[in-house]
Symmetry: C2
Subunit: 682 residues, 2 copies
């Protein structure tokens, strides 16, 4: 069977469906002139940021491609040099492209979703979900197309090509790093800046049109959540596919080409499952009071169909039922992690209730309790991930295939990532409805419209939190995969099996210590970036309030100026953490060499994942604590508990939307960077 | 040369000097009747807590000793069973004893230090330092005596005895775990409880005699900082000595018995250096305006003399100059870490200034900036520790001795821990002068006395922060040592060299992930313990204020009730994290076995150390930010920045005095627990 054409065909179908959704959105009712004006401002701001951000990243990408080419040529490996550089550029380009496409649809979906809000909240939901689906489908389809093309272009030799395409993953990592850092800093600096001056100093409500930073805040949702997470999961899926292909090389005698291309087939089938899942969310589902029900229904449909496809693909290509079970473990893990995240961040459950109660004793108790919960969230997640890996390995061994255990964990990762496009659609749904809320608010629409959108916005907050949990889980599985791929890669260089690391050696211990330290320092720089950029925004908002009669309603605020200042601040402040993430691992690798680098990688990965959980879930819990109190509990709006909860929410902002998500990306960047540069560490 | 008698003789001299200091303190002027009343209340509270705490721990210790005995007998190793159990009980007993002695002198020194404050602040300082020296000298001397006695009792066979005495380290770890957890929860629950109701709700100043929790707060300084840290460093020094002795077994052909006993000799010489250092701090040094100068002078004298002794011991016993250089690296590392800690937590430097400036934008910015700094502190520390380890290993190799590298790192650890008794004296100085401040304040002494003690108290805060940095650094070095000892231990069981761990195996990855997770969950439980105990204290203080006319000055508060409630709360809440720290590693070890356990240990250690740095230094920085603003900067007392800084300080309290220090202990407990239980994991 020709698998590559199959993967390409399905991916193209997914792109066509995405185009169909995009066309549907463009043709919808765009609401009032006021709405259109707000949406246009958001769109312009987002596009300006993305343009400038990608210009910066493009330069960095080209420089890195040249460095890789020269360095690899320098050690006499010309073939790998050009293969890796080309793959790198393609990975970077496609990641950026899918980000741009997804975002440009998102900044149009927000308007139509807002316009539909008054008459039909159900339609509003469906439009936002389909707007998100454009992102989801495009990202996964372009990743699959990219890998298929480059695999074919590099000669389709299943024993060689997987090693040559690792550059693709690195390109995707690089884009993800800067997209997430830049977007994450942008969104939270604008948010914190708008809130601190608007809400606290001037006493005007959130999303008030008089606030000069309000458009920047809405732009932030798109460039941070939408473009950032999109690049993150583009990378996850690419890296996972490549890692699994490398591991499949060892199983070539058993499975042949089918084993190597299996991950791509699963990815393609996941696209079909997602398309069915999206279409399964119908108007009558969306009419229910709780929007999460409609979104969840689509997810379960997607997961169920993915499982069926998984069964078919496994039986046809691998002819071994145990690998189907491995895939189910991955699917199951994704559901477990979603529920754990929900438990820790949703106001219906004990953790958020506890923080809310502690808030009645002031800000300090809110922070202490929230941090305590944040630390605690690592436990069930880590145990679930460990059990999933151990089981998948066991099932892989039970398959009777030699080296089947490791491949079993790879298949579990595929299972987890199979419904990825749907998860991405739910994720992008978040910023779309958040923006729709802002548009409705700023264009002075009816109370009904505001209430309808608020309900969707609340669901969007949940989906955003869930996606982050999912991203961490899939990063954990694919990190293990990439780590194993690194060991295989080093073995293929040295000609000796590299499976063992002498942990009692001092350089290994140092490597491990420095790997963990990088995570802390990187998080520190990412959080600092938000603080510094927020200072610019604060100064600018204060200046506008001082110099013009905005608060009295006489002068109009200069939104563009705020957007511009946030853009420049975010781009400037993404450089330090970005450079650290690239330069430090290389310096350690060149100094301490490949064994210490293995320890660096594994300990950095584990620390990064746990820290990301702490930051994401802590931030999510603080956010919902505020919402919980605003809904009237523990004193309600304006009470001391509410003031304490606002402090927690503000602290959580850079945790959950900048540092946390950047850490997922860092973890995968470490893996792909080490994979590509392995020859220099030997 | 008979080294054991030499070590015993020096240790006895140190105990005699400690007794001399204690006698001097008891004979000093005890101040007014009011002062004596306050001091008596503190003493009674502290002694009651220690009595109840150690009764609880004694039961746990006996149970564990029996379990170890039965389990080791069960696998047919009767000899190891009784050796280990006896060593365990002796280690636990001596650790507890040294804690009791040190604390009982500390709760007497506070009074004489307070009494001297008005007439001679210099004398006040010297008395407090000598009171602290009783702790420092007793702790190290008892550790050395204990190891010497048990080494001799177990037959003095240098090839066998080191393996039989690992139980001693575990006993010390267990006491340290509960002492630090219980004391840490006690001190911060009382502090937070007293502040939240007293300062914020009732609006009375800190240490006001009307606050029913004020005595509990002062008791907390003794049981947390003094007894807790004492047990922590008793364990560090014991574990380091035992670990180094185990590694020296491999070098027996080169160094003979001298190599095995070398760590004890260095420890003993460190005691002499400390005694000289303490005596070198004279009245005229103490008269200087900045008390840190006097304390630092003593430290430099101690370090310098330690270096000389190190040279002599190395040349006589090991006859190899390179190991002297290794020792210098350890000494140098201790100084570097002290300076790094000072930079990040002292208000004279940029980090605290930055947090203070951010506080002007509110509590959220104070927390965000403080957390950012806290994360950042890991960087220079981790790099310094890595460089020190790599250099020590290199120098050890350059010595030309086979396996000299690993021994080089052991010698560096000895260098770092040589001046340990002096560091402990400086550390215990902290709670003594803190208490003296409370006594002066509550007994309505003169303004001059208050000011004099406040200056000492500020120095005490610095020394406490420095000691924590030192404890982390020494924990890092001794953790590497113990890890290597674990590998050696496993090899001696399996009969095969266990040096390598296959990091690409899924159980190893799971072990590593769970090791890191334990640190986060343990920290969460420790912080939660403070929160829950503080709730009891808050309720009790509110009750007293409500039911009696305390605030009006008519009724007297019931201090004893608060002390009792805090005691019960702390003892109850230390159980969960304590049990977790013991049960979880054993469960993982029994399930995933010794290789995964190696990964568990190394990743748990690294995560624990970095997290401890984050919590300790973050807490220290927040504390001094508050002090910095109170000194008049950024708006001064009562300003919004000050309110924000108080939030940060309260958040930092359980970080720096409960969770952080408990993590050092956890790290070492993991190592000794794994060492002792290694046979079950094979």
């Amino acid at each position: 069977m020709d698998l590559i054409p199959l993967v390409m065909a399905i991916s193209l179908i997914a792109l066509i469906v995405a185009a169909y959704f995009a066309r549907q959105i463009i043709r919808e009712d765009r609401g009032t002139v006021q709405m259109q004006a707000v949406a246009a401002a958001i769109r312009e701001g987002a596009e300006a940021f993305i343009r400038r951000q990608y210009s910066t990243i493009a330069i960095i990408a080209v420089v890195i491609a040249v460095v890789i080419f020269v360095a690899l040529t320098g050690i006499g490996d010309f073939s790998r040099a050009w293969h890796t550089s080309v793959a790198f550029l393609l990975g970077a380009f496609l990641s950026a492209l899918s980000g741009v496409i997804g975002m440009s649809v998102a900044v149009r979906s927000n308007l139509v979703s807002a316009a539909a809000a008054e008459k039909s909240p159900a339609k509003s939901l469906i439009l936002a979900l389909r707007g998100g689906a454009v992102s989801g489908l495009t990202i996964i389809a372009l990743s699959l197309i990219g890998i298929s093309v480059i695999f074919t272009a590099f000669g389709s030799n299943p024993l060689e090509a997987p090693f040559l395409i690792v550059g693709f993953g690195l390109g995707a990592s690089l884009i993800a790093l800067f997209a997430q850092l830049g977007g994450g800093i942008y969104t939270k600096a604008a948010d914190v800046g708008a809130d601190l001056v608007g809400k606290f100093e001037a006493g005007i409500p959130e999303d008030d049109p008089r606030n000069p930073a309000v458009i920047a805040d809405l732009v932030g949702d798109n460039v941070g959540d939408c473009a950032g997470r999109g690049a993150d999961l583009f990378e996850s899926t690419s890296a996972e596919n490549i890692g699994a292909m490398i591991l499949a090389v060892a199983l070539y005698p058993v499975f042949g080409l089918a084993g190597v291309l299996f991950p791509l087939v699963i990815g393609a089938f996941g696209l079909i499952a997602t398309i069915i899942g999206i279409f399964s969310v119908r108007m009558k589902d969306a009419e229910h009071k709780n929007p999460m029900r409609a979104l969840n229904k689509g997810y379960y449909v997607t997961a169920f169909i993915s499982a069926i496809f998984f069964y078919i693909a496994t039986m046809v290509l691998l002819k071994n039922i145990w690998f189907f079970y491995c895939g189910l473990i991955g699917l199951a893990l994704s559901i477990v992690i979603l529920y754990v995240t929900l438990y820790y961040t949703d106001e219906r459950f004990r953790p958020v209730q506890k923080i809310a109660k502690a808030s009645t004793s002031g800000s300090a108790m809110n922070i202490i309790t929230g941090f305590n919960i944040a630390l605690e969230t690592t436990a069930i997640n880590a145990i679930s991930i460990s059990v999933a890996l151990l089981l998948a390995f066991k099932f892989g061994e039970l398959s009777g295939v030699a080296n089947g255990g490791l491949y079993g964990t790879a298949v579990a990762t595929m299972g987890m990532l199979a419904p990825c496009a749907y998860i991405l659609a739910m994720d992008t749904f978040g910023p779309i409805v958040d923006n729709a809320g802002g548009i409705v608010e700023m264009s002075k629409s009816s109370e009904v419209a505001c209430q309808n959108v608020a309900k969707l916005d609340s669901a969007g907050n949940t989906t955003k939190a869930l996606t982050k949990g999912y991203a961490v889980g899939s990063a954990a599985l694919s990190a293990f995969l990439l780590f194993s791929a690194y060991m295989t890669e080093v073995s293929s260089y040295t000609g000796q099996a590299f499976e063992i690391v002498n942990l009692a050696r001092v350089d290994i211990f140092a490597g491990a210590l420095l790997g963990a330290m990088l995570v802390y320092l990187f998080a520190a720089y990412a959080i600092r970036g938000v603080g510094e950029t927020a200072q610019y925004v604060i100064a600018e908002v204060r200046r506008q309030f001082r110099e013009r009669k905005i608060l009295a309603g006489i002068d109009k605020p200069d939104y563009a100026q705020c957007v511009d200042i946030t853009t420049r601040g975010a781009l400037k402040n993404m450089v330090l953490p970005g450079a650290l993430a690239i330069v430090f691992p290389i310096a350690v690798g060149l100094t301490l060499k490949y064994e210490a680098m293995a320890a660096f990688l594994i300990v950095g990965t584990i620390t990064g994942l746990l820290m990301a959980l702490v930051l994401n879930n802590g931030g999510g819990a603080w956010d919902n604590t505020k919402k919980c109190i605003e809904s009237g509990l523990y004193g309600g709006k304006g009470s001391d508990a509410h003031k304490a909860a606002i402090v927690g929410d503000t602290v959580g902002d850079p945790f959950k939307d900048t540092a946390g998500p950047s850490l997922h990306v860092l973890v995968k960047l470490l893996a792909t960077l080490t994979l590509v540069l392995a020859p220099f560490y030997i």
